[in-house]
Amino acid sequence: MTSLPEANIERTLADANLQLAIYASTGRLMDKRKTAVSAELLPDYQELRTQANAVKKHALDNLDFYLEQFETNVQNVGGHVVYCRDGTEVADFVLKLAKERGAGLLVKSKSMTTEEIDLNERLEHHGLHAVETDLGEYILQLAEERPYHIVAPALHKTRYDVADIFTSKLGVEREIVPENQTRIAREVLREKFLAADIGLTGANFLVADSGAVVLVENEGNARLTSSAPKIHIAVAGIEKIIPRAQDLAVFLKLLGRSATGQHLTVYTSFLSGPRRNGEIDGPDEFYVVLLDNGRTRLLADNEKRQSLYCIRCGACLNICPVYRKIGGHNYPWVYSGPIGAIITPQYQGIGKNPWLPYASSLCGACAEVCPVKIDIPKLLLDLRSEVTATHPKDQKSRIERMSFRVWSWLMTKPKLFEMAGMAASTALANGCGWLRNVPAPLNIGPLRAWISQRDLPVPPPKSFRQLWRTRPNK
């Protein structure tokens, strides 16, 4: 069990530059999204959401069928499907293939699924070098950090950070202009693309009726990764399946707009199998790795299954007031923000990070912007009740459990409730309306936490029920 990373959160909150970077970046993404899905620009936005939700629901409710259909169709176009239970199996597969083909260099485009299983580290450990090629991911690979945000991985890095990273890791002269920094990355990575033996991508969608992998991106690195090397491996979670190519007419409209406000991202690749007879370029070998890694566990729960609808647009992060304060790295896993708070405990087991479902004010903004209508607040509430059902043994949890037990009993005893209120009023009363400090014996637990941030209202001498009794009858 990992406990709430209080000290790290405090550090993030105290870092004014970082706070500004997070707030400004997420704010911009949020504004762009809002415009892009506005009634003027996308009048059928709500209908698209409803359709996307219905299609995802159908695909996941019948996932075994669509997985097999996908597999057959990939094979029909000369590709291969490899099922993997976890990260070890993925790494074993890639390493074995690399060894058989004599491959020494692998280029990678952005994939949260491979981040989830620490694939780079696993491959590196066995001597296969994997180079990230998305600019943000490349910066983070050099900095040895994990993504800060699902869509904008290096959101927390400034140009000066990038200058430091490039200078120390690439040995280039210090360069602080983002445009020139981008050129540097382009040149270094262009060499890698042309030299790589294997290109490894994620997948935004797996299209069952076509045996196709769909990649959505802006830079062109996913196109290069999937087209330049002789071997293309796409690693995807089993939940990425959609039934038909035609469903893309719905999902592509939602994904770009929700993520960055783009009506379509610059590149959308629809890839099925290795290059066909006569096609001039493209890979000779095409593999799709279908990863479980805890997903089948989620499927079993009818309600929570919807967590798997996520298309990783990041809109819930951008609008989440909690993410906007604590940033991405205080979440314990690669998936941050509201979606991270619901899927991490489900993938990794509720006992591992029991604090995570509580890291939300339940404001519901995430559900409002989710393009596939995942009811995130509802799932957070469900997960909270799962946490309490495990009866955590730490002192804080035991006190809390006991307090709610007593409280709920008190709430069915109006007379006692009234007297308890009077006692509190007496204990705190000092004549003024808002307290800046709580007297010593009471300065513990929730009161102390409250007073650490804001003033506390003093309970008035008479409660409503007492005033009501003496209220003149009108």
Partner: protein
């Protein structure tokens, strides 16, 4: 016709902000309602529900359903508590058909205060007057679970002497979130400060909302920051004359 209204003032108003309950009763009576206060009432159970203690929440919810079982209308000065009863009780009692049925029967009779005025009584001008510049904070549950956006604003626009000035982050959470405010004090406090920055930019004298718990968070942060801006529940504004 004089609608019979039972007010459910909520535990927060009862214990901390009784004047809000009194103001609500005044406004309802002036609007012609026959107001009663079922004295056995306590809480809707939301604190336990939101913290994951469903058994405890159910105990309080069953008690609530019992106290208010015969009420014609139940009016609540809180979007959050209203939503707990009208939306989340169904979830809380999903495995207990008898209570689920009772929850479903009561739900249509439970109204958030501003919506009750505008939709049931069809009143947008309660005859209030208050010389002030106000800004309205959309509390999350009122806004997103009950779709309350226009009703309170309509009512405010009809208050004589009151200028309504929108803040740029009206729909952003104040950071209260029940036990969230004490489980994640730094984050909650940070959210409150972001909110008050936005409030201050409007130069309003007063922040108005339909939820006293949001106002407790906002007023606490305003007070801590030494700012003169005040908070008022919508009922208090509408009771002013």
């Amino acid at each position: 016709m004089n609608p019979r209204v039972s007010i459910f003032v909520t535990c927060v108003v009862d214990q901390l902000f009784p004047r809000v309950g009194l103001a609500m009763a005044d406004v309802l009576e002036r609007a012609g309602c026959l107001v009663d206060f079922p004295e056995r009432q306590t809480c809707c159970g939301q604190p336990a529900f939101n913290s994951g203690y469903h058994d405890d929440a159910r105990r309080v919810a069953r008690y609530f359903l019992d106290v208010f079982k015969d009420s014609e209308y139940i009016v609540v000065p809180s979007g959050s508590c209203t939503s707990m009863i009208t939306h989340h009780y169904a979830d809380l009692f999903r495995d207990s058909p008898e209570w689920l049925d009772r929850a479903k029967q009561i739900a249509p009779r439970v109204w958030e205060f501003s919506t009750f005025l505008v939709e049931v009584l069809q009143i947008t001008d309660v005859g209030a007057s208050l010389e002030t510049v106000a800004t309205y904070h959309d509390s999350c549950h009122a806004l997103r679970e009950l779709q309350i956006k226009e009703a309170p604003r309509k009512l405010l626009r009809h208050v004589r002497g009151l200028e309504l000035r929108e803040m740029d982050t009206a729909e952003e959470c104040c950071g209260f979130g029940g036990t969230f405010s004490v489980k994640f004090p730094g984050v909650s406090g940070g959210m409150a400060r972001t909110k008050i920055d936005s409030i201050v930019r409007t130069n309003a004298d007063v922040v108005v909302s339909v939820d006293s718990s949001c106002l407790m968070q906002i007023q606490g942060a305003l007070s801590r920051a030494g700012l003169p801006t005040k908070t008022m529940h919508l009922a208090e504004v509408l009771a002013a004359r």
